[in-house]
Subunit: 75 residues, 5 copies
């Protein structure tokens, strides 16, 4: 396998990582919504932490996407 | 393996990522619906966060699909 | 591996993504049904969101299937 | 790897997708049965949505099987 | 890798799908039994849906087995 082939293959593998990160994002929002509907008055107070958790999980998915893009267009 | 072969193989790998992201989307909606049916009156107030979470997880799946399309038609 | 071989292999990989998306769809409906049977009178009011969530997860699985079809018949 | 080999290998990969979809189908029915036994009188009213969810998840598994069959007999 | 080798390897991959489907089948029966033991008098009334769910998940595992058999004996 030459380097040109490997970097395209690697981009595909990296895209799996972007998809898997969506499970983590879904987990953050799913758990938040589940509990926010049980205790709606407290939901606004926890919104800051929701977005920190969402951003942390989303960031990892975007990093996987960035790796895919770098492999295709830069490497 | 030449580059032409690798990018088609990579597109298939990237499509796995699109599918896995559906688990995250399903998690957001599943948790929301589970709790919305327990406390229907509060469901409308959390709808904004539902769509933020849905969009965040869906985005990562669409990014994986974009990687597949770039690998097939651009790279 | 030549390009003809890789696109067939890639189609098989993409089909995994279609199957995995079914887990997400199953999650949306599973959670909905579980709660709809606990509170049947509220189920009709949440049906709109059920179908948005179902469509969002199903879309990602269909995208993976589209990638498989493009790899077999177009690429 | 030549094209003849790859399409047989790809069909095997696609069959994984068919199997994984069964997890989603099992999730729909599992959650339904769990709650139907807790509230049997409401089970009949939700049967329509049960079959929509079952069909949606089953469809994605059948699509993966279709990809496997196309790879073996058509491509 | 020649075609003879690939179809044997592909059959092995397809068998993974058959195994994964057992998770879905196990989910259907597990949830049913868990609730049937909590409410045994209602279990008989839900038996029809139990077998529909079991058959749907089992079918996808059998399809993966069919792909493996076709790969070994037909392709």
């Amino acid at each position: 396998m030459d380097a040109e082939a490997a970097k395209l293959l690697g981009a595909g593998l990296a895209a799996i990582g972007a998809g898997v990160a969506a499970v983590g994002v879904g987990n953050v929002f799913g758990s938040f919504l589940e509990s926010a509907l049980r205790n709606p008055s407290a939901a606004d107070g926890q919104q800051g932490r929701l977005f920190i958790g969402f951003a942390a999980a989303e960031l990892l998915g975007l990093l996987a996407f960035v790796v895919a893009m770098i492999l295709i267009f830069v490497a």
